[in-house]
């Protein structure tokens, strides 16, 4: 057993941390709030120049062919500075879906472009009134001999304005998992989008489909394999977001601790009061536990051990720890932390939104419970 990162992983973390300190400082994060594109192109280019847009893609597509531990290392750094970028939707989710289900032609057309950062592909999962379950996908695909016909809408689609393609799960049958993933040009006739304004102030869009014609060749993978594809990228997605939460929480704890050492009331630094120190100690426990849990999930995924339950636990726990860290951060900063000039609010709003996003607590708890009760005897965790 050895819980330390390798020298290479540490070097990668340092390089990335330096770059993000330059290109993703708090004022850049603030500038991007409610921006229609949602990320600074210079930052995106720097991420691509480091090869991170192709982090986990095979070398044949121009990727770095690194594993999930390196993804976690990167996302911890992204979270630490709240890096505004479409990396998650494009380089984790879309790249994963195409790799698992894409035809040779689709992979060759898009994966090298994703790896270079030249193309951004986003995922249009949610629908108004639906949740993260397969039954939440109600946009009808209406597949026929000449293709699909879509009418309806998707909601909360990140970075849609920057995307060259949308990956859209649509319903093609009444049974729960009868879903196809379609790769759609957002410039197709009948598609319109308008920006939605979020708590984290990232760029999200409602996308409306008005009798949109999509060719059969746009389907990714076999017919009705859409939900299987979504499940196939779930572990990587959960682990990346969980690592992001660890970085975000760690920075929130750092800011609160620094303030507690400097702020004087009753003639002493407030951090000397147990009423301030003990909640911060609790956050330190939770962040440490979350980090080790996240890296265990990443290690299990990278070494092809069973990682499904670990990934769900990692996101469930790290998100809760992050939410708690940012709230204790606010409490420590007191009144000044309620003003928008102070960075804690940037962290707190994103912490909660991320907890609610892609796989929320309810979804994760159901998955964990299924994994416990669907197995035979309980043989440890």
């Amino acid at each position: 057993m050895d819980l330390d990162l390798t020298d290479e992983q540490r070097a990668m973390r340092e390089t990335l941390r330096k770059m993000l300190a330059d290109l993703s400082p708090p004022n850049v994060v603030r500038q991007m709030e409610d921006d229609s594109l949602g990320f600074p192109p210079a930052l995106w280019k720097a991420i691509a120049d480091m090869g991170l847009t192709g982090l986990s893609l095979p070398e044949e597509y121009g990727g770095l062919a690194l594993g999930t531990v390196e993804t976690a290392v990167s996302y911890e750094e992204f979270g630490r500075v709240l890096c505004p970028s479409p990396h998650f939707v494009s380089s984790v989710l879309a790249a994963g879906i195409l790799r698992h289900g894409g035809s040779a032609q689709q992979c060759e057309a898009w994966l090298p472009a994703i790896a270079r950062g030249d193309s951004i592909i986003t995922v249009a999962l949610l629908e108004p009134g639906g949740d993260y379950d397969a039954t939440g996908i109600q946009l009808q695909g209406n597949p026929g001999a000449d293709g699909y016909r879509l009418s309806g809408s998707k909601s909360c689609v990140p970075f849609a304005k920057a995307a060259q393609r949308l990956l859209v799960p649509v319903r093609v049958g009444a049974a729960e998992h009868e879903i196809d993933f379609l790769l759609i040009d957002p410039a197709s006739p009948g598609i319109s989008m308008r920006q939605q304004f979020t708590s984290a102030r990232d760029a999200q869009y409602e996308i409306c489909f008005d009798n949109v014609a999509v060719p059969l060749s746009a389907r990714v993978g076999e017919p009705k394999s859409g939900w299987t594809l979504w499940r196939a990228v779930a572990e990587d997605g959960m682990i990346a977001l969980a690592a992001w939460a660890v970085g975000c929480a760690d920075r929130a704890l750092e800011m609160a601790t620094t303030y507690a050492k400097e702020r004087v009331q009753f003639d002493r630094p407030i951090g000397s009061f147990q009423g301030i120190a003990h909640p911060l100690a609790t956050v330190a426990i939770e962040v440490a536990g979350a980090r080790t849990l996240v890296y265990q999930a990443a290690w299990a995924q990278a070494t092809r051990r069973p990682a499904q339950r670990l990934a769900a636990m990692a996101k469930l726990y790290a998100d809760a720890a992050n939410r708690h860290a940012t709230m204790v951060g606010h409490q420590t900063l007191g009144g000044i932390g309620f003003t928008v000039d102070i960075d804690m609010q940037l962290y707190q709003r994103r912490a909660k939104q991320s907890q609610l996003s892609w796989w929320d607590a309810k979804t994760l708890e159901e998955q964990i419970a299924d994994s416990i009760f669907d197995e035979g005897e309980f043989h440890g965790l």
Partner: protein
């Protein structure tokens, strides 16, 4: 990065587990408590003797003292396997007392005690706490005064677990009341049967007992002073490190959780399986996550140890998380099991024969004992986060 133990370690665990199972016969496990701390009955003493014969005492002791000379992580592995079986833990002799003697004891004390500790011939009691010295241990008052070639001890100890059956008393006494309070403390070893010692039982919530111990002109020979006079408080602090990685075994909580999960899998309420109840499923998902985090904290402690880094803060985190999850687990089990969960062992219709009602009471202690969680949070805040001391 690697979250798996080495093949050698796994082989050791498998051998230890098989050996423990073979010798953990009728009467060794205390079914009335989660207590794994008491080697008080003939069956439990016999079990510890068997552990000694199998070479499982002192696995990390240096070979020159009769140990196996294995890395400290093997103590952790052994502790986990004992906890998984519900067997008594290796006693204080191997951890705190033996290690302190090796580091600071005279040749006489080493010769007198180390071989007998390894043969499981001595049960120890540890006398630290007093009525006015709990978390603030350095304020202890039990007085040791010079008397000819030895010492005369007078005063009172409280919460001396095992005093009612122990053979020897490892005791901290004040030898100097004039200077700073943590500089006037000395460690002694004395037989529990020494004239002038009176032990009064204090029944505890977990169905066990602890003790008050009164010392009235108890004579101790100079040879039974451990190390230097006045250094006792430092030896005590150091000794905490010897067992940090074995005090709160993850496997113990997993064992308790296993009983709960087994119950939930099989039982019904109003004819409906508990396992299908969404409230139960959600609670199980949270608990199983909290338990996995507990396992992560235990790995963090041994990983620090493996890398030769200080594990103080990691151990404090592990202790707080372990003890607080244990209480959550106990509460959740009672709530989810439903009406009658309060029934104690032996009552008609007691769910899991009162196991959950028993655990609920046992879970009160861990947030308090071995350094209250408030003290652990002070350690994390000051040593981990660098927050200032009060005052």
């Amino acid at each position: 990065m690697d979250f798996e133990f080495s093949a050698e370690e796994m082989a050791f665990r498998a051998e230890a587990a098989a050996y423990i199972r073979k010798h953990c016969t009728e009467g060794v496990i205390n079914e009335d408590s989660d207590g794994t701390r008491y080697v008080d009955t003939p069956a439990r003493r016999g079990f510890m003797k068997a552990m000694a014969q199998g070479g499982y005492l002192g696995v990390s002791w240096p070979v020159e003292y009769g140990g196996r000379g294995l890395p400290a992580i093997y103590d952790f592995h052994l502790s986990e396997e004992l906890a998984a079986a519900g067997a008594p833990q290796i006693g204080k002799g191997i951890g705190i007392i033996g290690r302190t003697l090796m580091t600071h004891g005279s040749e006489f004390l080493k010769r007198e005690f180390l071989p007998r500790i390894l043969r499981a011939e001595i049960e120890f009691a540890i006398g630290y706490s007093e009525p006015d010295a709990g978390s603030d241990l350095a304020s202890l008052k039990l007085r040791a005064t010079r008397d000819g070639d030895g010492w005369r001890l007078n005063g009172q100890k409280r919460f001396t677990t095992s005093a009612h059956f122990a053979d020897w008393y490892f005791l901290a006494a004040r030898t100097d009341a004039s200077g700073p309070k943590h500089k006037g403390i000395t460690l002694f070893l004395l037989p529990m049967k020494a004239p002038g010692i009176a032990v009064h039982g204090m029944p505890t919530l977990d169905g066990e007992r602890t003790n008050e111990v009164f010392l009235d002109d108890v004579q101790v020979d100079d040879r039974y002073v451990i190390g230097e006079v006045g250094q006792g408080f430092y030896y005590i602090s150091e000794a905490l490190d010897f067992e940090r990685h074995t005090l709160f075994p993850y496997a113990m909580m997993e064992r308790v959780f296993g009983v709960f999960l087994d119950y939930v899998r099989k039982e019904k309420r109003n004819g409906k399986p508990l396992r299908d109840d969404p409230v139960v499923r959600r609670a199980v998902a949270r608990l199983v996550t909290d338990l996995e985090v507990a396992r992560m904290h235990s790995l963090r402690v041994v990983d620090s140890l493996n890398h030769g880094r200080s594990s103080n803060v990691d151990a404090a985190m592990n202790k707080v998380w372990w003890s607080e999850v244990y209480q959550r687990l106990a509460d959740a089990a009672l709530e989810l099991v439903g009406p009658g969960a309060w029934l104690r062992r032996g009552s008609a219709h007691a769910p899991a024969d009162g196991f959950f009602a028993m655990i609920h009471q046992c879970a009160v202690l861990p947030t308090i004992g071995a350094g209250a969680n408030e003290i652990q949070r002070n350690i994390i805040a000051r040593r981990g986060l660098g927050l200032p001391n009060p005052g």
